[in-house]
Amino acid sequence: MIYETDKPLYLQIVDYACEQILLGIWKPEERVPSVRELSVTLTVNLNTVARSFDFLQDKQVLFQKRGIGYFVEKEGLKRIRDMYKIEFFQKDLPNLFKKMQKLNVSIEEIVLEYKKCST
């Protein structure tokens, strides 16, 4: 059984970029750092960052204005939420369920904790 695979670096940078948007540091319709700037900040290869930006453009999270740079799509934040929601239900939640079974944690206990947390 595989229990862990490190995400490829370009997808880790995608996560970083999405995190910036989710936190509101990169705002809709505003320019984001250039591929170069990000490559220096994160000390990763220029081509890797370029691949991450291609991916985000493909997912309609970022768009490119020729000669100016990359911008966050108007609907970028929503699209990221949708993207991560899928990941949450397909990956995170099943992993959590497995762990709950292993530790004998009931769903009621979780509901209780959730209510505490959100009030």
Binding site: E4, T5, D6, L9, R36, N45, R51
Partner: protein, 276 residues
């Protein structure tokens, strides 16, 4: 940028270093040049820069035959050697002597680099510690702003903070016009920066591919036990790290150390996977 065709090279005729080596290197890349000790990494850098001559075949750098050592070629190359002796002069004197060989030399950048590395302008370079001398050569080398940067074990001898600094300066220096080739054993120091990866092996190239290409053909996974299909496996705390053929399009992070070990243990298979 660099084109190597049918290269044969030996120091002693009975011990060929390369036999029929072919290689094509393109600008906009930071190549990581890997290989076991004595496989000819430094030799390759010297052939590219015209410091050594091919026994047979051709090495062309910027479309010049490297061994002709044309000034038009040499002014575009900076070579950071692994072993060096610095003259008994202060850095200002050194700059006066050597900077004029490089038309695009950036004095302002040099001042910045000297500052971030915390190097003394008052001391003679020969009085620097080994690590400080390395920092000076890195600072000077990056400031030459050459299109081709050859670095032989650049992180050897650097202290921990300086390794981070070097990574940052390297990321800053890289651009679409530059070709950077780094020969190294310290792959962890540069893991996220080097791409493509070149692995040399006895007389030949075993692999010269981008990280993307490598991750399409191989996957790097953690398992409870070593898998049958593993090309290389290593016990770690969380399980067994395995390198396997990527038959199901898994996307995983390329672990360069594991890649290297898998390559040298499966030479024929790697040639089939990557070269053909």
């Amino acid at each position: 940028m660099i084109n190597i065709q049918n290269l044969n090279f030996h120091y002693k005729a009975s011990q060929p270093v390369y036999l029929g080596l072919n290689m094509d290197l393109k600008p906009g890349n930071i190549y990581g040049l890997l290989g076991e000790n004595g496989v000819g990494k430094t030799t390759l850098l010297k052939l590219i820069s015209g410091l050594l001559f091919p026994t047979k075949g051709n090495v062309s750098t910027f479309r010049f035959e490297a061994k002709k050592r044309y000034p038009e070629m040499l002014e575009k190359i900076y070579f950071l050697p692994e072993v060096y002796t610095l003259p008994k002069v202060k850095m200002s004197e050194y700059v006066k002597l050597y900077a004029s060989f490089y038309p695009k030399f950036d004095h302002q950048k040099l001042a910045e680099y000297v500052d971030v590395f915390g190097l003394s302008k008052a001391k003679k370079l020969s009085e620097f510690s080994h690590g400080q001398q390395k920092k000076w050569l890195l600072a000077f080398g990056l400031a030459t702003n050459t299109e081709l940067l050859l670095m032989d074990e650049p992180t050897n001898g650097l202290d921990i903070p300086s390794k981070g600094l070097f990574r940052q300066l390297l990321a800053e220096a890289a651009d679409e016009q530059k070709t950077i080739i780094i020969s190294t054993h310290q792959v962890r120091d540069l893991e996220n920066l080097i791409d493509p990866i070149i692995i040399l092996e006895h007389n030949q190239v075993l692999l010269n591919n981008s990280i993307e290409e490598i991750s399409q053909k191989l996957k790097f996974v953690v398992r409870e036990n070593q898998s049958e299909q593993a090309l290389f496996a290593e016990q770690a705390i969380g399980g067994v790290l395995c390198v396997e053929p990527n038959t199901d399009n898994t996307e995983s992070k390329v672990n360069i150390e594991l890649l290297f070990n898998a390559a040298v243990n499966n030479k024929e298979l790697f040639k089939k996977l990557f070269i053909l």
